[in-house]
Homo-oligomer: 148 residues x 2
């Protein structure tokens, strides 16, 4: 088949939603396995910036928990969507880390042969100048990357 | 179908070769129309740099002719490959211009719903820093872009 195992990076954004639709259609057409991945930022990654504006350092447990919960909800939603649309084999994972590097690392670890990501939805100039997650993923990945 | 009209940007490079293989497989699977596009640089675009090293200005006709011929050969090769591989509807075009902008403009003009491009084959850092044609295309295109 053209693709056997497709990773869809899903964060609940508008761009990710469109990417999920395409990844689902493609997985069904290819009879491919679909791997949903939602990456979230771990508390310690926000600590540096937050500690600048917070008066005192509070325990990060609750924030971590909330971010993990939101990521879990997003991943579960994407998994349900794909299953309902007729993709037979779907799994969903969440992982804390830097988005682009984490997406590429998980795709390699799980042996995916296509990564599908949403575009930022920015205009051409802004997107190009800022450098989006999708640009970083296409730069880092060894397998084909579809930017939707 | 998932994709109805796929544009493959083919310039004869190693990356474009891999992209051609994937685009061909995908076009066959989707029963999609395949549009081969080879972009080449027009003589006038090289004039500024060449005139710096050339003693005298020579007519650009021959150089244009040679570049157009090479582009034609590349496009024809890609078209034959796709036809031989079982893609029923394939057309091939050559066009002078800036690669990324020309690829995106032709895709829009012809109503393509997927653009397939090769990655530069550079390491992650170099590719990311230099900014490749594939990065520019993903930044400019309104339709999904697959970087192979």
């Amino acid at each position: 088949m053209v693709f056997d195992k497709i990773l869809i990076a899903y964060d609940g954004s508008h761009g990710a939603e469109r990417a999920l639709m395409k990844a689902t259609e493609l997985a069904r057409l290819c009879a491919a396995q679909l791997v949903v991945l939602t990456v979230y930022r771990h508390h310690s990654m926000l600590e540096a910036s937050l500690s600048m504006v917070r008066g005192s350092v509070e325990p990060g447990g609750n924030l971590d928990e909330a971010m993990r919960g939101t990521a879990r909800d997003a991943a579960d939603y994407a998994k349900s969507h794909a299953s309902d649309a007729g993709v037979a084999r779907v799994s969903a994972f969440i992982k804390a880390g830097q988005p682009a590097r984490t997406i590429v690392a998980v795709a390699e670890e799980k042996g995916c042969d296509l990564i599908v990501v949403g575009s930022r939805g920015l205009g051409a100039t802004e997107g190009y100048l800022l450098g989006s997650v999708s640009h970083k993923v296409t730069g880092l990945a060894d397998c084909p990357v579809m930017v939707v």
